[in-house]
Symmetry: C2
Subunit: 298 residues, 2 copies
């Protein structure tokens, strides 16, 4: 296993342990709600957003994650998970499988899936707003605001709404880009920002660069997703290959051609690496993660 | 119009103006999402929770609401509205009408209703986490945490999940009480707490009393709801009278009898008033609101 794979594994273990604890200690009068939350949360995700939080913090400080970094990593994964649970619902993308497993409304029922998603979103803000000794409340508040802005009606939710409103309709490249900037990009950029914010003053001057980096890899992530849907393998993807075309979804390859999309991906990758390279050794792991994002096979 | 009615009208106008501004200035790439949010948010609600925030602050300070009070009032109404939008969904309570108007998934569509609810929840936390000059960030963070705890898997969402899991099943009085303590009680208590927290140090010593008061009126509110469903008038209620019995929902009158439920309501009212009476003139409006809650006809 190479260094990045090891590191991702470590981060994943840490985040999953925290997520697991968070749900099991939460205590609810309705156990089925917790079971559904658990199903939506602990389903073998790549935990890419938490990794971005960790490695962005590392770039800023050269240090291991602090308590704020860890909270933010857990919170952002709660938001990401809730969005997947809701996106899979029959009224939305109507997906039965996610990472090879039955989706929440299939494994449980539709009402449980809606409520589990609602509770997971709330849990993100609850977890990040718990008082933490030794860190400025103003910083924690700023992190909360960053997460909320990225997740809501100007961010992730808007992107999903736009996507649903345009199924089967042609999009321009600008529209496609604006949609993905909201739908997946906002939360990816927020992950990078949250890592930098958790670094306190060490992150302040790096925020503009890291924000730009986040926007670039958010877009790159989506183009790679589109390419995988054409070139990937159903078993590796954990979802049917070719589903974008089957659902007549607008994609980068459809608008730019396969070679054009590949070239754009490379361009975004190069620009992102260009930004990170100015930060010396502390950026090495984030650089490795950036390579991974554009070369991943699922 | 009596003093309380005037006051409630004033608060309602203020909150609705803020809610209106919040949505119209938010800017989204998908206008339909905002329209659905607006439909769910600005639909003639009584704005009882914001009034509790305002009047609890007034009890603590004798002053007009400050910026924190106003933020909290708007945030809690966003949470309440999102929960109604989701509760009305076909997979949940499947209601076509709310306050005499078509519910969000009827007026728009199911996906829009799910997403509008998601965005309204997020907006509550976004609005309350925006930096406010002149107020301690630690206080704002504590208010956020209070709101999140009341709304999630140990509060409101848990109550709704428990309710759905027990449709048509008999409940004990303890179970019914635990369900309502989560489903409606948690957010009502949070409203009272948020008002006191927004008063800063003036609210600190009053928090335990006000929490207890919130628990009492939360329960009283629910019993009155159950009684109205039996004794109320469909036109005034804005929803079909008798729908609890038709859906075989467990209610206080079903468990305690009509007279028993009325007696319990009176008891809760008296205990709540007993708490408030120790606070002098500044409690007068909250006392009036308490009378209103147990005597309202819709």
């Amino acid at each position: 296993m190479n260094r990045l794979a090891q590191l991702l594994q470590q981060h994943r273990n840490q985040v999953e342990q925290q997520l697991d604890q968070l749900i099991s200690t939460a205590g609810s009068i309705e156990p089925r709600l917790q079971q559904t939350m658990r199903h939506g949360l602990l389903n073998g995700g790549k935990r890419l957003r938490p990794a971005l939080v960790y490695l962005s913090h590392q770039l800023c400080t050269g240090q291991l994650p602090n308590e704020l970094t860890k909270r933010a990593a857990v919170a952002i994964e709660c938001i990401h998970s809730y969005s997947l649970v809701h996106d899979d619902l029959p009224a939305m993308d109507d997906d039965d499988l996610r990472r090879g497993q039955p989706t929440c409304h299939i494994a449980f029922d539709e009402a449980s899936a809606i409520l589990a998603g609602d509770a997971l979103q709330c849990l993100a803000f609850e977890h990040l707003s718990e008082p933490i000794n030794g860190y400025p409340a103003a910083l924690q508040l700023r992190m909360l605001n960053t997460l909320a802005r990225a997740s809501g009606e100007r961010g992730m939710v808007a992107g999903q709404a736009f996507d649903l409103a345009h199924v089967g309709k042609p999009l321009t490249l600008e529209q496609l880009q604006a949609m993905h900037a909201c739908k997946t990009g906002a939360l990816i950029t927020a992950a990078v920002e949250l890592g930098a914010l958790s670094a306190g003053t060490a992150g302040d001057d790096k925020l503009p660069d890291l924000r730009r980096y986040g926007d670039l890899i958010g877009l790159a992530f989506q183009i790679q997703d589109d390419l995988l849907d054409i070139e990937g393998d159903t078993a590796t993807l954990g979802k049917p290959q070719g589903s974008d075309a089957a659902q007549n979804k607008p994609t980068y390859p459809a608008l730019l051609g396969l070679d054009g999309a590949r070239a754009r991906l490379q361009q975004l990758h190069d620009e992102a690496i260009g930004i990170l390279s100015t930060y010396g050794d502390d950026a090495d792991d984030l650089i490795a993660l950036t390579h991974y994002i554009v070369n991943r096979d699922h």
